[in-house]
């Protein structure tokens, strides 16, 4: 049920322009968490949360807070505005200890007042009492708050003021001739709220105590100080709550602003804007960078080196050459090559199907990356992160850097597995070599037959047996032809095949190189490129969110 309601509320929120800004700030804060200073992120998230909760509450009401120093006459002004003797007025300082609210048109304001944290006993509804209609119509929708002071020795008052100043839609600061230049109000409240000048009014109370000819000068002096705070253009109204001077103007000024129904939104937008600016200052304004292909290629090369790809590729070439030569060479001599070890076997890369089943993907004996190779990997990773981090705020740049090395400790193992799991394509001898092997054996057989035949003939002639006729091919006796042809062709074939084998070995090496590099590039993508891209995605999310918030 609740979620349904929440959803509906969210829909309402989203439909508005302010809602979109708030959501943008929310997204940006979420994406920036963990990368930039937590205080800034928390601040932005709090502003977004506050704004979205305000947006869900009554849009018909505008919260107007009266703030000021102790003795400035907030409560007198409050009473004068409401026409009721609600707030205690006194000479004993500080007078007001809690915020009091008066509401014109209570309907729908309950939730809002609860959100403001004003207990029912400090609320007064104006329309429930007997009152003159004119004023009430004018002020309809106003929730007027009388805040405690912000400068007395009671620290709890300051905290209450700080809390309510964040929640109010509009602020009326009550100054007085004695205290208008106090650092307490200028440094703690006015300067930090410089972005909120559209929702602010300044009242100079107790104007009756100032000699008449000095009043205009004092109002100008207040304006000068406000300008120094970055609040130029905020209306300054001289009033005297005691004598009722200027109260009507103040009331109509508030009423006019409230009637426009823009106050709440402009307050929230000002909040969102200043929070977004602070977040932006922490995250940087550079546009979202992309990873360049060349850098990634250089990174892959460094990884391949570290994985010993050149060693493996050389072994593939050697092994192919050896096996194919053994197959295609002249069988008599090729047999000797069996005595030499197979280079691939030596690297534990060629265990055959059975071996792989036994060990899963076995560890290879490819030499571990040396210091130099490892250094090259680190350098490439660093320059990749550097290239990405350019134009980002230092906090993000170091987040990218941290992400880029976050998975490097796995490197050795992962590269090894990638190499071991790659099908090098060197296990089987090529098909043509099989044919050649058969041919070689046929030729050897022919030579043996020829030799045997000749031997028989020689034995026959030694035993003085009559010489049987020997078939002749052309003018050559067949046995001799078989013997010489068998040997000669076999050697020739072996020679020709050597050349072919060299070509095959080269192409297989190339293929293995390609396959290995692909596998390694997958590793580098997983270990380095993906973490960096994840950071970039959050950066993009922050930029996008801030753009929405600041639109």
């Amino acid at each position: 049920m609740t979620s349904l309601l929440e959803g509906a509320k969210k829909l309402v929120t989203r439909s508005s322009d302010t809602g979109a800004r708030v959501e943008g700030l929310e997204r940006a804060a979420e994406a920036a968490r963990g990368r930039v200073d937590d205080a800034v992120v928390d601040d932005a998230a709090a502003v977004a949360a506050r704004a979205s909760s305000r947006l869900k509450l009554s849009a018909e009401h505008t919260v107007v807070a009266l703030g000021g120093a102790t003795g400035s006459g907030k409560s007198s002004t409050f009473n004068a505005l409401s026409g009721l003797e609600l707030a205690a007025v006194g000479v004993r300082r500080p007078t007001t200890s809690w915020a009091t609210a008066v509401v014109w048109g209570k309907q729908g304001a309950e939730e809002l007042l609860e959100w403001l944290g004003i207990p029912a006993r400090h609320q007064v509804t104006r329309d429930s009492m007997l009152s003159k209609a004119d004023e009430d119509v004018e002020m309809r929708g106003v929730v007027l708050l009388d805040l405690p002071d912000h400068d007395s020795t009671e620290v709890s008052h300051h905290l209450e003021v700080e809390r309510l100043v964040q929640l109010a839609d509009m602020m009326v600061w009550v100054l007085d001739p004695q205290k208008y230049a106090d650092a307490a109000i200028h440094d703690r409240f006015l300067k930090p709220l410089a972005g909120h000048k559209d929702v602010m009014l300044v009242v100079l109370n107790h104007i009756d105590t100032v000699p008449e000819d000095r009043r205009a000068g004092m109002v100008d002096d207040v304006r000068r100080l406000l300008e120094a705070d970055g609040l130029g253009g905020v209306p300054v109204l001289p009033v005297s709550a005691r004598h009722g001077w200027g109260i009507q103007e103040l009331r109509s000024m508030i009423a006019k602003r409230v009637a426009e129904k823009k106050v709440t939104r402009s307050r929230l937008e000002a909040d969102v804007r200043s929070a977004a600016h602070r977040l932006e200052a922490a995250t940087g304004t550079g546009k979202v960078p992309t990873l360049s292909k060349e850098r990634i290629a250089a990174l892959d090369d460094a990884f391949a080196d570290a994985a010993g790809v050149p060693t493996v590729v050389k072994a593939v070439a050697d092994s192919t050459r050896m096996r194919a030569n053994r197959a295609t060479g002249w069988p008599v001599t090729a047999w000797f090559s069996r005595l030499k070890p197979d280079p691939l076997k030596r690297l534990h890369l060629d265990l055959g199907a059975v071996g792989k089943e036994l060990t899963g993907t076995a560890r290879t004996s490819v030499p571990q990356a040396t210091g130099v190779q490892r250094a090259r990997v680190d350098t490439e990773v660093r320059s990749l992160a550097d290239q990405v981090g350019e134009g980002m705020a230092p906090a993000w740049a170091s987040a990218v850097r941290a992400a880029s090395v976050s998975r490097l400790p796995d490197l050795g193992d992962r590269l090894d597995r990638a190499v071991a799991a790659t099908d090098l394509g060197a296990t089987k001898i090529p098909a043509w070599a099989g044919l050649v092997r058969v041919l070689q054996y046929v030729l050897v057989l022919a030579a043996i037959v020829g030799a045997g035949w000749l031997a028989l003939l020689a034995l026959g002639s030694y035993a003085r047996l009559p010489e049987p006729p020997t078939p002749e091919v052309g003018s050559f006796p067949l046995p001799t032809l078989l013997l010489l042809g068998g040997i000669g062709l076999g050697l020739l074939l072996a020679l020709v095949c050597r050349w072919l084998v060299a070509m095959t070995a080269r192409s297989r090496a190339r293929a293995a190189d390609k396959r290995l590099r692909d596998a390694i590039s997958a590793v580098s993508a997983e270990l380095v490129v993906q973490p960096i891209e994840a950071e970039l995605a959050s950066y993009a999310a922050v930029r996008e969110g801030l753009a929405a918030a600041l639109r």
């Binding site: 102790t70 000479v91 020795t153 040396t370 250094a375």
Partner: protein, 609 residues
């Protein structure tokens, strides 16, 4: 001041113990020196506060405590301080009875302090006395660095009034100056008003005054007549609860000011009388001075310890930061040392070039049979061996460089990361002017040069060693280049920590190189050559990285945080306390036996040994 003045004008305690005063002044000057030294440059938690405290203390020592102690008989200085708009200037004018300082409705009004004194007291307020930094002037000014002196016969001799700027307006300069002036006061005449009396800022000041038991009188100004009772009661309660119940409280009702800007004489009569009584009663005046001065000295000594603690923290922080940087770079030096000595540098490129260079096994055979030199030369001529030696050199160079560069980068990154983890380190890094997280910009160039220098050193070693062996066949066959390459290879496999299949390759190469060298120089010479080359390499790597490390350590050196400062401060504060206790004991003895001069003198003599 002359000794006669002192005797004539009073200061009974100190007249009795001029030595004690001198000793105290010396101790305070030493304390000031120690405090001045403690710059607390690092941004540690709470350092801001202690830095402000330190400045305040140094100022107070210079402006007030030391000059006051040296001229105890000078007139009492009452500083009129308080909030903006409380009516300080009007009060001062009304007390003097003429317009000496300009009041106004626009806040803040007074920006430059005004001192009103009796004409006879002028000599006490010269440039070299209290508040020596403020320039003395005799007309109205808005310059906060000036002190306007107004001689007025209305003032009683022996008492001067100073109108200070406000303590709480938007003008920060005013606030700072007011705090400084109040710290230099013998008596605070603290002005507040009906609208102000519960403000936080003035009470912070009053709390400080209560802490150091400064003499304070409160003036509740601009009070509407109907509110006098309520406010005075409340204010008196506030004062009592904050340890100021002995302070006199004067109420000035809000009244019509004259055209001159003066309050009616009746309003300030009470204050004026009180001040005059104080001025006339030398005992009372002296005890006010003594109370405030003692309180100030006591507070200074006490606060010195917390500044000293902060200074200790600074020393520790600097040491930690230095250790972090050192550790990062030490690790780099070790790592490069290991990677270049375990033979792994001989793999890959270097190994390939080396094998090309030495050929395939024939070299070994030729060494064993000792007949191969003609063939070697032929082979050299055909294969161009010198170029191959060159290629090994280049491969060695690029391998070493990659190693050194990467480790320098990694060390910079490590050092930066560990610095960045503290707020103090972050600020140092920010102000460093360059990105310390990277190796310095010309590091690559310097690394290249260092490696090349090392290689030419090795060449030089081989050349010197081989000077008398020029004629041997092997030497001629491989030449200086070839042999120095062999020496490098031996150096890189120095620790022979190569394992497994590697031993066959890298170890083999090294053995080959060693054999070659031994055949030329003899094994003893080879060992010492390799050792020397190795040391030379390590030294030049260390030099390179030390230069990098210095980017960090220099930052710390410029902070000038001396490890002795905190102890010096504590010692000075202890000394001040000791003197304070000693004089308090003497004072109590004096009270216990207030007889005549002689016995007390002898009593002191009795104490001395």
């Amino acid at each position: 001041m002359t000794h006669d003045d002192a005797t004539a004008d009073g200061a009974p305690d100190q007249r009795r113990h001029p030595d004690a005063t001198t000793a105290m002044v010396t101790a305070l000057v030493r304390l000031r020196g120690a405090l001045q030294e403690a710059q607390l440059p690092l941004e540690l938690p709470g350092a801001d506060e202690q830095r402000a405290a330190r400045t305040e203390m140094v100022d107070q020592l210079e402006d007030y405590v030391i000059p006051r102690l040296m001229t105890l008989e000078a007139p009492l200085l009452a500083v009129v301080g308080g909030s903006t708009g409380a009516g300080k200037s009007t009060l001062v004018n009304s007390l003097v009875g003429t317009r000496v300082t300009a009041p106004g409705v626009l806040r803040p009004t007074t920006r430059s302090p005004v001192l009103v004194h009796h004409p006879d007291d002028a000599r006490w307020f010269g440039q070299d006395r209290l508040l020596p930094e403020l320039e003395r002037v005799d007309r109205q000014t808005n310059d906060p660095a000036a002190l306007q002196l107004v001689p007025s016969p209305v003032m009683a001799p022996g008492l001067a009034v100073l109108d200070a700027p406000d303590i709480d307006s938007v003008e920060e300069q005013n606030r700072v100056l007011a705090a400084q002036l109040l710290a230099a006061a013998d008596l605070w005449l603290f002005v507040t008003s009906a609208a102000r009396y519960a403000d936080q800022v003035p009470w912070d000041f009053l709390r400080k005054a209560a802490d150091r038991s400064a003499a304070v009188a409160i003036v509740l100004d601009r009070t509407p007549p109907e509110a006098v009772d309520t406010i005075t009661t409340h204010l008196a309660r506030m004062l009592a609860s904050r340890g100021l119940k002995d302070s006199p409280l004067f109420v000035v009702e809000e009244g019509q000011v004259s055209d001159m800007g003066l309050l009616p004489a009746s309003s300030v009569m009470e204050i004026r009388q009180w001040l005059r009584a104080l001025a006339d009663d030398q005992e009372a005046r002296q005890s006010v001075v003594q109370q405030t001065l003692d309180g100030a000295i006591r507070t200074l000594a006490r606060r010195t310890h917390s500044v000293a603690d902060a200074a200790t923290e600074q020393v520790d922080a600097v040491r930690r930061l230095r250790e972090d940087a050192n550790e990062a770079y030490d690790r780099a030096v070790t790592a490069i040392g290991e990677a270049s000595a375990d033979g792994t540098l001989l793999r890959g490129e270097v190994l390939a070039r080396w094998q090309e260079f030495v050929g395939t096994g024939e070299l070994l055979r030729s060494l064993e049979t000792r007949v191969g030199w003609i063939r070697d030369r032929v082979v050299n001529a055909v294969k161009g061996k010198p170029q191959q030696a060159e290629r090994v050199t280049v491969a060695v160079e690029s391998g070493l460089e990659t190693l050194i560069l990467e480790h320098a980068e990694a060390a910079a990154e490590r050092a930066e990361a560990s610095w960045r983890s503290t707020a103090a380190g972050q600020i140092l890094l920010r102000d460093a002017g360059e990105d310390l997280g990277r190796a310095s910009r010309d590091f690559r160039r310097r690394a290249e040069r260092a490696v090349r220098d090392w290689q030419s050193d090795v060449l030089e070693m081989v050349r010197t060693e081989g000077a008398e062996k020029r004629s041997t066949a092997r030497f001629l066959a491989f030449g200086v280049n070839g042999l120095s390459v062999a020496l490098m290879v031996v150096v890189f496999a120095h620790t022979a920590g190569v394992t497994g299949a590697e031993a066959g390759i890298a170890g083999g190469s090294a053995i080959l190189g060693q054999k070659l060298l031994e055949a030329v120089f003899g094994d003893q010479a080879v060992r010492s050559l390799a050792e020397r080359a190795r040391l030379r390499l390590e030294a030049s790597i260390r030099d390179l990285l030390d230069a990098e490390r210095r980017r960090y350590t220099d930052l710390l050196d410029t902070l000038e945080v001396s490890p002795e400062t905190p102890e010096r401060m504590r010692a000075a504060a202890r000394k001040v306390d000791d003197l304070r206790f000693a004089s308090a004991r003497r004072a109590s003895e004096a009270v216990a036996a207030p007889v005549q001069e002689p016995p007390r003198v002898s009593g002191r003599e009795g104490d001395a040994p």
